[in-house]
Every structure is written in structure tokens, then in C-alpha cells.
Amino acid sequence: MNDLIRSTAAELAAQIHAGEVSAVEVTQAHLDRIAQVDTAVHAFLHVDTEGALAAARKVDADRVAGQQPASALAGVPLALKDVLTTEGVPTTCGSKMLEGWIPPYDATVTRRLREAGVVILGKTNMDEFAMGSSTENSAYGPTHNPWDLDRIPGGSGGGSSAALAAFESPLSIGTDTGGSIRQPGSVTGTVGVKPTYGTVSRYGLVAFSSSLDQAGPCARTVLDAALLHEVIGGHDPLDSTSIDRPLPPVVAAARQGADGDLSGVRIGVVREFAGEGYQAGVLASFTAAVDQLRALGAEIVEVSCPSFTYALSAYYLIAPSEASSNLARFDAMRYGLRVGGDDPSLSAEDVMSLTREAGFGAEVKRRIMIGTYALSSGYYDAYYGSAQKVRTLITRDFDAAFEQVDVLVSPTTPTTAFKIGERVDDPMAMYLSDLCTIPSNLAGNASLSVPSGLAEEDGLPVGLQIMAPAMEDHRMYRVAAAYEVARDAAQGGPLIHRVPEVSV
């Protein structure tokens, strides 16, 4: 395997900016890798070879012309989840509904990446409209976990996590509504960050659940995630829920954490996230991680967040409710799939129905129906209304916990990567994948997943979830960076280097 594709984003950027390697060479190396392994992994729905090379050439030309790099990541390749719009490049959201749709505009995240000189390799596979935990709900077929191609890479952003673990890209962008960045990070041994809600613009992020969706960085190291976080984050007037305050200093925190000293940091272990339903190897890895944090000087306390028990139920009312409304726009009238449009005997309403019947997959339909029901008059108070109350209680639990501790920790997801097909007929089992990640979406605070090792029984990656208060994202970066250093020391090198070579 070529060194360029195994390098971190920070290393690549340094080499490119020093002129030791060109951005075009780096980009070409990753395009070659994609060509080599993606038939087996299927992380990408669309590879934008020409666009990527053009962006890389621009970075190289700027350097030759003596200009400063556009950003700390100028020239570094990235894989973009196919839920963010890209002008001139297809955006499908993993759905037949948007097959062939070419957006006329860039999402703010896309625009910021382009302006930063980040090279967008292509668009990654995902569960349809980000609904799922395995990427099996993609209308274009599943993505395979590079650790074991028979297993899922997590979801909804399985393409973005698999691209990292398969060394197809050093960076990727995910979106996290209930855990769609962190759970894929956990099961692929990569870092996934859900920033504080409102700190990364949602403009151009095709909405699943507006009050929960948040785009964030995915990488193979904590520092790389932080560098990417600072490129995509910050206030955007086009998103009314965007917070008009400076972004938390996440890169500085990641660098500080790399010192490996956590003395004075108080860490809370969430009592509710353990026990039945948790794989033994996951709990063992988690316990070892907590011990390691203690060894780094952190003070560890157990914290109870009793309302977290209701988070999953509340989530599966709020998210589908918003989705039922957000996905109403897919009606064949202006863009996307159109079924029956040429038949003059059909009314507009008929065309809408036929199109939605054909264009949406089973999970999307299930959630639209749940949401439509939950918002219906006579049921609204009992379902949507109650769920919003639970949401408030969860926020209060977080507030109370963060009075005692600086960050909270838990396993990211109760199990390691399961087999493709194993849970497709059991939505409840699938939904449980997001048990530990959902509370931070409901409360809007920051949360990340950093690899904590491999489960003994199956040799698959386990993730440590670190949660911080809203706008205190830097706290979790510091803890994650410190842990990463200690983990690599204890485990004899970066976990990601133990990924088996993809057999094509």
C-alpha cells in the first residue's frame, strides 16, 4: 500500500504545502485506490475524477505562484456524503427519488471545502435520506466494512466511514441525525464528530430531521477531524439555526490533548449505557478506555442520566415527524423521479403518488408514515408533544451532568459491526444501534466517537463516545486526542493500521 494513502490529512497537507508532493499526485493516488478497491467496498456513489484533479491542479498552481495555502487542508482529498448538494455533481441521498439530479447550487459545507482547497473526490454511499444504521437502505446497494466485507460499515454514513477505513480518502464528511457519523466511525475504527447543533451550516444538507441533523468531520485521527471541523464550521446567515458565535477552538484543543495530560479533567461515565444488550467485548474495551483516561490524570465519576432511557422512543417520533414534512417536496413536479408524468389520464396527484411509491424505499416510507401519524390531529399531543417534553428532560439531564463533570463517556454503539442482512427485517434491532448516540442529537450538544480497540470475541473495532456541552466541542477533542496517544502507545500503533487489506 502506497504511503500517500496511509498518511494522515495533516501529514499530507504539510507535504503538499512544502512542495514535497503535489496535490495532483495525492489526489491521483486516492483515485487509483478507489479504482482498485471500491468495487469491493462500494463507499462511493459517484467519483468526480475530473473535478478532483482540477481542484488539485488549482492548489498546485497557487503554490507555484507563491500563494499561501487556502487553508490548513488545501490539497487534501475528501469524500463527501451524498446528502450535501454539489453544484454540477449528482446528489442522490442514496435514493432512487433523486437519481440523476444535478443540483444547481453548493451546500455551504461544500462551498467552504472548495474555498479551502480541499479536493472533493466524490460522493459517498448512505442509507436512503440518511435513514438507517447500516447503509443497507441505500437504493444503490450496501457499502461493505473494510474490516470484514460481510459486515456493515454503520449508517447512515457508511460510505464516508468505509472510505476512511479502506484508505480511499483521508477525510470525509458525514451527517449525524441520531448517530450517523459516530456509529459508522465506531464500527470502522475511525474518528467521527457530531459538532454542536448550529455550528456547521445545514444549508444544502438535504434534510431528514431539521432539528437533529448536523454535518461533521470524519477522519482517521482526532487532529485531522479537528482541522476539518474548522474548515467546515462557523456561522452561516443562510441557515437560521446557525449559531452566530466563534467556533470552539477544536484544533488547539486537539494539539493540547496530544500532550497526554488530563489532570484536572472530570469525566462522567453514563450509568444508563451499559448492561443488557451490550456486547461483552464492547464493554470490556470501554472499561479499558476509562482506565486509560484515569491513568492520564482524569477524575472519573459515575453519572446518572435517567431520561436517556426514553431518548430512543422520543427520537423515533420527532425524527420521522420532521422527515414526513421534509420529504413531502419529493413530488415529481420540479425535479427528480417522475412516474406517470406522460400519461394524460393521470392527475398531478396520481403522478405524485406513483412517484413516491416507486421512488422511496421501505424504511423511508415507514418513517414518513410514522411521522404523518404522530403529527395528526388528535395524536399530536400524545406523540410529538410528549416526545418534545422528553427532549427537554434529556437536555436537563445533560445540564445536570455537566455541572459535575467536563465531559461524559459511553460506548458509541452497543455492538461491533453486524453482518449485512442480519437486521434488515428487524427495525427495532437496527434502531438500537443508535441508543447511546441519540441523546446528543436531541439535546444539540457536541459528541464524538474515537476508536478504543478491537472487541476480543470478533476482532472488530469498538468506539468510545465522548460528549461535551454545547459550544464546548474543544473539551471532547482534548480528551479524545489524549486518549488516542495513550491508546496507540498501549496497543502498539494506530488501530487503523490493523485493517486487513481489502481483498478485491
Binding site: G204, D239, S240, R329, R334, T372
Partner: protein, 494 residues
């Protein structure tokens, strides 16, 4: 049923919903322009087309207009309110939900006092005024009616999608009795004047920037609970408001009198026949599945801002009329005549341009009204401006024009000959004030009629009229007659 019988047997209950398109430069939730009549689908962007991923951002100017409207309608202004999504599928609704307000309107609990034609004041209680976005426009092609049933195909124009709307909803209006149609018309008319004074909307009913839906129900006299109502849409003029209410009262009266049942439905008003016809049935109440719009932050106007906006409220139309009545010293009847003639604004503008109220009024209600009547047009449509009328008055007062000449000047302006000064110049209408020229004319006239001159010299001053007449004729009426007379007498030693 005969109208007299309807009002004898039933009490009408009205509910009026008025949609006002705000005249902001940009749309409610994006930066697209709002110009009326542009090429279809040229004033659109990802947000107002509902493209995947696009997000709304509130137009602050629209919120400001909403608050000012609320204040002018004597409403309370919400300290904190949210937008909500009203979910329903329709092709001209790009997102298949309308971003509106539901249980948290920006303004609520107000009233508007409406003056009826005989001067009686009817208080219309306002339930709420809320912000929302307009839909696109569907054009149904083919078929006889231009409506969707029977059409061959439909065209969609999204230029209007996202234009800011304020919906103003009255409380149920009871007690209007036989005057219900008149109250409905007077309310919409007063609201239109108010919105115009606030300068927040074009309020053009013909262009749809002010639209009225009239809810009408009847209840037998003495009954407390309301009857089933219908909602009549497509009421596009003040006259139609009155006609639609009246028609619905008669239609419902007839149904009820035969023991029938009113169907709760949307009805469509037909301008040409003056009747309403059934549209969408609302028996099975549509479930719009409202919920708070998660893409927008709540609107929380500070008390300071609301008070600042209150201070920007112009003099409201009815306050202004009251003031004008005092300033111009008008009786109620005189004021009502001016209002009905559409002369108040014209006179006021003439006064603003420097004329006295009495002079301005005299010109507009006498000579100019006569000119408008002759031409069969409204006073305001005459091609003369208040500033021009004021200039004519100024020329008369300054002695450069006689009253007769002033009418000539006005005729010239109306005929398109230019400004009053240009007409004076062009028609050669100048009071001759050059004494030597006048004296010469007088001397000439005296010389031409020596017998008359002799009479004057002998003290018969009244004989001067003949000389004056001759001078006026010689100067083509441009001399000041009084001055000529003085000169004649002086010349004859008087």
C-alpha cells in the same frame, strides 16, 4: 330567498380573512425579487423552489411590516412566536408545506373601527394577524372555466411562491344584520386604506395583492349557536365582497328555509353572474399536521423595537379624516361628500402645495369635478396634479390670472399642453399689468367713443363700463377689469 326575508328570519355571522401581499423588495424567506408580472419562473432560487437542502431565512422587513400592521389594528404583539409548517400537497406549493404561523401569531386581539356610508361606526374585532408565504400560481389550460376540472394541462409559475403575506382574520362578526354585506365591504375598504397609509402593500385587489375570503353563516333569529359556514374565495373587488356576502346570505336562507342543510365548503365567487358555486368540500376537515418550523428561529421582537415601530405609524386614515374635518371646518355631510367624491387626498395635497383649504376645495369640487363628470372619469384620473392646481391658485392670487383665465389654464393642462406656466405662455394668457400699454388702450377707447368719454367726464361714472368693455376686448381679456375701470375714471379726471 329574497334578501328582506333572509334578514327578517336570520342573523348573519361573518368571518373575513384577508391576505395581504407585502410590498417588500424580496421574498419572505429568500432574496428573490417580488416584482409583479415578471416572466414566469424568473424570480426563483433554491429556497423558494423548495430544492433539496435549501433553507429559509426570515425577511426582517416583513416582520417589521407585520408588527406595524398589528399595531395599527390595535393588536397585542407577541413577545415570542414561531413559524409553523402547514402540510398539504399541491403542485404550486414547492415544499408541499406552507411556512405560516399557527397557534403563535405575531399579532392578536385587535380591532378596526369601520365607518359605514351613513356615518355609523361598526367595530370589527380582529382575532389575529400572522405572517406566511404565498404559493406559486397554477394556470389551468384548456377546459371552459380556467379551473382545474376539465383542464388539459396546468402550468406552474413559482415567481409568487414565497412572497410575504400577512393574513388578517376577524373574530366572528355578529350583529350587523341587514347591513352585513355593507359591513364586509366597508371593513375591506378601511383595511385597504389603512394598509396603504402604512405603505406596506400595493393593496391591489385586481392584482391579488389584497385578497378576501368571506365566511358566511346564518342562524335563525334568537338562536345562540352559529350555523354551518361556507368560505367564499376569489372575491377580487370591494363590490364583489358585498355581492358575495349578500348572495351567500340569500342562498343559505333559501336552503335553510326548505329544511335543508348547509354544507361546509369552499365556494367560488363568479364576478360576471354575482353568484357563488361549490368548490372543495370541507366536510372531512383537512388535517394540516401543523408543527413548529424547525428551520427557523423564533421571532422575538423586543419591547423597544415594537415601541420604535409604533412611533413610525403614520396618521391612520380615520384619525386623519377627523383632523382634516377640524382643519377645514367641514360638517359631517361635507366631509362625507368629499370622501365619496374621492377628493380628500387631492385637496389635501393641494393644501400641502400651498393653497388654502377653501380655495383647494372649491377648485376640486366645482370646476374639476365638472370636468371629470364630462369626461366620465374619476377625479383622481384627471390629468392634472394637486401641485398644478395649487400653482393655478397661486397665479390667481398673485394677480397674474383672472378666474376666467385660470379655467383656461386648467383646460390647457387637462388637454396636455403642459404645466400651468407653460399653458399661460403657450396660450398667451397674461393679465396685462403694464400701465403704459393699458393707458394707451384706454386712451384709444376713449378717443373711439368721444360721447361716452364726455359722459364720464361729466360725472356719469357708470358709463365707464362701455370703455372698460372695449379695453377688455382690445386686450383679449387679459387686462384686470377693475384696474381698467380705475384707469378710465382717472383719465377722465375722476
Amino acid at each position: 330567498m329574497d334578501y328582506a326575508e333572509v334578514v327578517e328570519r336570520f342573523d348573519p355571522v361573518l368571518g373575513l380573512e384577508v391576505h395581504v401581499e407585502l410590498s417588500t423588495n424580496t421574498k419572505m424567506f429568500c432574496g428573490c425579487p417580488t416584482t409583479f408580472g415578471a416572466e414566469p419562473n424568473t424570480q426563483v432560487c433554491p429556497t423558494c423552489l423548495g430544492l433539496p437542502g435549501a433553507l429559509p431565512a426570515v425577511n426582517g422587513k416583513a416582520v417589521e411590516s407585520a408588527i406595524r400592521i398589528g399595531l395599527a389594528l390595535n393588536c397585542e404583539i407577541a413577545a415570542w412566536c414561531r413559524f409553523a409548517r402547514k402540510n398539504y400537497f399541491y403542485p404550486d406549493q414547492p415544499k408541499n408545506f406552507q411556512t405560516s404561523q399557527y397557534d403563535e401569531p405575531i399579532a392578536f386581539n385587535g380591532y378596526l373601527d369601520v365607518v359605514l356610508e351613513d356615518g355609523e361606526v361598526f367595530r370589527v374585532d380582529i382575532e389575529r394577524a400572522h405572517m406566511e408565504e404565498d404559493t406559486g400560481k397554477s394556470l389551468h389550460v384548456g377546459g371552459a372555466t380556467g379551473r382545474i376540472h376539465g383542464a388539459d394541462y396546468s402550468l406552474l409559475d413559482y415567481n409568487r411562491a414565497g412572497v410575504p403575506l400577512i393574513e388578517i382574520v376577524t373574530k366572528p362578526l355578529e350583529g350587523a344584520g341587514e347591513r352585513a354585506p355593507e359591513v364586509a365591504k366597508a371593513y375591506v375598504s378601511a383595511l385597504r386604506d389603512l394598509l396603504r397609509a402604512l405603505d406596506v402593500s400595493d393593496v391591489r385587489m385586481d392584482q391579488g395583492s389584497l385578497r378576501c375570503d368571506a365566511n358566511v353563516s346564518l342562524k335563525p333569529k334568537g338562536q345562540a349557536e352559529f350555523g354551518t359556514r361556507t368560505e367564499t374565495k376569489n372575491v377580487n373587488s370591494l363590490r364583489s365582497v358585498e355581492r358575495a356576502v349578500r348572495f351567500e346570505m340569500c342562498r343559505q336562507g333559501a336552503v335553510l328555509a326548505e329544511g335543508g342543510r348547509i354544507v361546509q365548503e369552499t365556494r367560488h365567487f363568479d364576478e360576471s353572474s354575482g353568484s357563488t358555486s361549490a368548490g372543495r368540500t370541507k366536510e372531512t376537515a383537512e388535517d394540516y399536521r401543523y408543527f413548529p418550523e424547525p428551520d427557523l428561529a423564533p421571532v422575538a421582537p423586543s419591547t423597544e423595537w415594537v415601541e420604535e415601530l409604533r412611533a413610525t405609524l403614520p396618521e391612520l386614515p380615520w384619525e386623519r379624516l377627523k383632523r382634516i374635518q377640524g382643519d377645514w371646518q367641514l360638517t359631517d355631510a361635507e366631509l362625507r361628500d368629499l370622501v365619496n367624491a374621492g377628493a380628500v387626498d387631492l385637496i389635501a395635497a393641494t393644501v400641502d402645495a400651498g393653497s388654502s383649504p377653501a380655495e383647494a376645495r372649491r377648485w376640486w369640487v366645482a370646476y374639476l369635478t365638472q370636468q371629470a363628470n364630462t369626461r366620465g372619469i374619476e377625479l383622481v384620473e384627471l390629468s392634472i396634479t394637486p401641485v398644478q392646481v395649487a400653482r393655478v391658485i397661486e397665479l390667481v392670487n398673485g394677480g397674474s390670472l383672472t378666474n376666467t383665465m385660470a379655467k383656461d389654464v386648467v383646460d390647457g393642462v387637462l388637454a396636455g399642453e403642459g404645466s400651468p406656466d407653460e399653458v399661460v405662455e403657450g396660450r398667451g394668457l397674461k393679465v396685462v399689468s403694464d400701465d403704459s400699454a393699458l393707458e394707451a388702450a384706454v386712451d384709444e377707447a376713449l378717443a373711439a367713443q368721444p360721447d361716452v368719454a364726455e359722459k364720464i367726464r361729466s360725472g356719469k361714472v357708470q358709463a365707464a363700463g362701455a370703455i372698460v368693455g372695449a379695453v377688455m376686448k382690445a386686450t383679449k381679456g387679459q387686462a384686470d377689469a377693475k384696474k381698467v375701470r380705475d384707469l378710465v375714471i382717472a383719465r377722465c379726471g375722476g
